[in-house]
């Protein structure tokens, strides 16, 4: 599934990712934990193809396809999905319009043809109901005036609709209260499947109580410094990240 080899990334001349190797298999849920500034969010942006990041070395492949020379939209059509830590607001664009534009853009890119409006509506309504998202929210502008919890639920709704091959959840738990965390996690768990890979980025073990990972990686100063099973997360919760010093600023 996802295979990252010897990745080096710079932004504005500064090295953020420094020789990172990571493999996530289909059906696997991998967690990446690490202190602030270790390069976790940068990793998610680079996988999704954000501009301004300079990849100086290494490769990122999804199912053997090199992603680095692809645009963000092309990567999305190949099945990369990123749930943003801070989802963006788009004034004047109804959420429903946005969802449909996204889904159909990906379907066109894959030569699948656009989804009919009735089919689309059915799909959105079903997914929205599972995430406690009201019809009214779908009519409002994308993320505009949404609470932190609403924004995160909307990210998971998008993931449910777009059915990505590989999804990255960047600090999904930030800004969520316990109830919202449960709803979002249930939404994510419903999307676990043998064909899909998931990368969960978080500071806290708490999230992993809800979304149980198969493997846990510790990231520090731009590389994976330790990997293990779910018990590694519990250990980190006790000892903190102090052992993985050389914390990048």
């Amino acid at each position: 599934m996802l295979d990252i080899q010897n990745l080096h990334v710079r932004i504005a001349g500064k090295t953020i990712i420094d020789g990172l190797n990571l493999k996530v298999d289909a059906g696997q849920v991998a967690a990446i934990m690490g202190p602030n500034g270790s390069g976790k969010s940068t990793l998610s942006y680079v996988i999704a193809g954000r501009a301004d990041y300079e990849v100086t070395e290494g490769s990122i492949k999804l199912d053997g396809v090199d992603l680095l020379d692809k645009t963000p939209a092309e990567r999305a059509a190949l099945g990369i999905f990123l749930s943003f830590q801070y989802p963006l607001e788009i004034p004047g664009v109804a959420t429903m319009t946005f969802l449909k534009a996204a889904l159909n853009a990906q379907r066109r890119a894959r030569d699948e043809g656009e989804m009919s409006t009735p089919d689309f509506m059915k799909k959105v309504r079903a997914a929205a109901a599972r995430l406690n998202i009201s019809q009214d929210m779908l009519k409002r502008a994308v993320n505009l005036g949404f609470s932190g919890g609403e924004k995160k639920r909307m990210e998971i709704l998008q993931m449910a609709l777009l059915e990505p091959r590989f999804a990255i959840l960047d600090e999904m738990d930030s800004g969520l209260d316990i109830d919202a965390l449960r709803v979002c996690s249930e939404g994510v768990n419903a999307l676990r499947s043998p064909e899909r890979g998931l990368l969960v980025i978080t500071h806290y073990q708490r999230l992993l109580d809800y979304i149980a990972p198969d493997v846990v990686h510790v990231m520090s100063a731009g590389k994976i410094v330790r990997s293990g099973g779910p018990e590694l997360a519990l250990e980190l919760e006790k000892s903190g990240y102090a052992d993985y010093a050389s914390e990048a600023a």
Binding site: A48, A73, I90, V93, F98, A101, A105, Q106
Partner: protein, 489 residues
């Protein structure tokens, strides 16, 4: 003696003589020579078989124009126009144009396709002569126009070229022409008054609600109205009319200078809704060429409780200088201005409105959305004023600018003037930039950079798009996407 006669004869054959005195009597000619003088003005008037009062009206305008100077207060820059190097009259072309759709500039067809314009309409817009029979059978323009005209006649609505109205309804034209934009108004309007080519005339009788949207689409066979268009719309007491000007298809024109005048008059309880989509050639990628669009549009809410609403989508032209305005003369009258102005490449836009509150309890609303991309400059210029007697005048202005990239500029220049203490004017303005974060977010969901920009911009202009008639709004939405092509890289 013989020698003298010879000299006289020779002078007569000289071009200069013929130009100065002779040519304008030759009304069989299809084209006036370059330049502007009284002879040309008379020639145009004679060509249109105009009554003497109108010829004199034009001449009066021309003489005033000679004493005026070109305005330079707008935030636009262009090389000095040589008015003697322009043509002011050429007969509408009919038999020219491509024979088949296959002969049309492929770039133009690509644009039509993106706009989703039906094949039949594409042929019409491109001026194709031999139309496909099968398509014609469905959309026979002649029959459409005929049905359309019959229905209007039944309602008593007059809708025809202004040159025709001069002949058939001279009393109305004489009464209202120049009543809102006087001959002396401004340099370009005065020039238009002297040399206007043609345009639309609309009269809606008292109490009549015009049964359909009036569109220049139905005047397409009378196109080539030239660069000095003149439109006059009169809504009599208690009537209503909605008028659509222009079309979303890209329009090229060999004439660089366009100076149109539009006058609207709403009597008691009447309402006029005027919508424009302007997509003239904006010039090439380096800012060469392109239309100068120097337009004067003004509405007179003459009657009590009358209402005039302007909606515009401006995407074309190298330079736009345009301030559709309302004179709120009647008590309780209302003026509205909804605008989307998009500039890309090296386009320059200086556009806005004037709401002049004269009557009591008059109200106005201004919603302006300016989008600047590329190297363009986009200025909103608006004047809101309340006269001493405009008791309880109300205005709300919202003026938002959106920047795409970092080489363009957006400017807001509001003039607000209240001469009585009961007036209440509100002005809101924002300037924002499409952030890289926002773009990345949308692209991550599968949209290309251009699709993402178009989506965000369409959200930005939504309030104004909603004011457009439905089918127009859909086209305008696509047009916005096309206008912004190449703005992100």
């Amino acid at each position: 003696m013989a020698a003298v006669q010879e000299t006289v004869d020779k002078v007569k054959t000289l071009d200069v003589d013929a130009y100065k005195y002779g040519f304008f009597t030759d009304i069989a000619s299809d084209k006036a020579p370059k330049g502007l003088n009284e002879g040309i003005v008379r020639f145009i008037s004679a060509k249109k078989n105009e009554p003497e009062w109108l010829t004199n009206w034009r001449l009066d305008a021309y003489r005033r124009w000679l004493t005026m100077v070109e305005p330079n207060w707008a935030r636009v820059h262009y090389p000095k126009i040589d008015y003697q190097d322009l043509y002011y009259y050429s007969a509408p072309k009919s038999a020219e144009g491509p024979r088949l759709l296959e002969d049309v500039d492929p770039e133009l067809l690509r644009a039509y396709e993106k706009l989703g314009i039906p094949l039949r309409e594409q042929e019409m817009l491109a001026g194709v002569q031999e139309r496909r029979v099968a398509v014609d059978a469905v959309f026979d323009s002649v029959s459409v126009v005929t049905t359309f005209k019959a229905e209007l006649a039944k309602a008593g609505v007059i809708f025809c070229p202004i040159s025709e109205a001069v002949q058939t309804h001279p009393e109305l034209v004489r009464k209202y022409l120049g009543a809102v934009v006087p001959v002396t108004d401004n340099y370009f309007a005065t020039l238009n008054s002297a040399v206007f080519s043609d345009g639309s005339f609309v009269y809606v009788p008292p109490g009549v609600r015009c049964p359909m949207e009036l569109s220049t689409y139905f005047r397409i066979n009378e196109k080539n109205t030239g660069q000095f268009e003149r439109t006059l719309i009169i809504a009599d007491k208690g009537s209503y009319v909605s008028y659509l000007e222009g079309c979303t298809a890209p329009q090229r024109d060999e004439n660089q200078l366009h100076a149109a005048v539009v006058e609207l008059i709403a009597l008691d309880d009447a309402e006029i809704k005027y919508s424009t989509v302007q997509n003239w050639y904006p010039g090439d990628a380096n800012g060469k060429g392109g239309i100068y669009n120097f337009v004067t549009k003004r509405g007179d809410c003459r009657g009590a409780r009358s209402k005039i609403s302007w909606t515009q989508v401006e995407t074309g032209s190298a330079i736009t200088w345009k301030y559709p305005s309302c004179i709120l003369r009647g008590d309780d009258s209302r003026g509205e201005f909804y605008s989307i102005a998009i500039s890309n490449g090296y386009q320059q836009v200086d556009s806005g409105t004037k709401m002049l509150h004269l009557g009591a309890n008059t109200s106005s609303r201004v919603i302006s959305k300016g989008i600047a991309a590329g190297h363009s400059q986009n200025t909103y210029r608006g004047q809101i004023s309340a006269h001493r007697k405009a008791i309880n005048a109300r205005n709300f202005t919202n003026c938002d600018s959106l920047l795409i990239g970092n080489k363009c500029g957006a400017h807001t220049v509001p003039y607000i003037e209240a001469k009585n203490s009961s007036a209440l004017f509100e002005h809101e303005a924002t300037t924002s930039k499409i952030s890289d974060d926002q773009l990345f977010y949308v692209m991550q969901r599968g949209l290309s950079a251009e699709e993402a920009t178009a989506l965000i911009v369409n959200g930005f202009v939504r309030d104004v798009l909603q004011q457009l008639p439905m089918e127009f709004a859909v086209e305008a939405q696509k047009l916005i996407a096309i206008s912004l092509e190449g703005s992100v890289g």
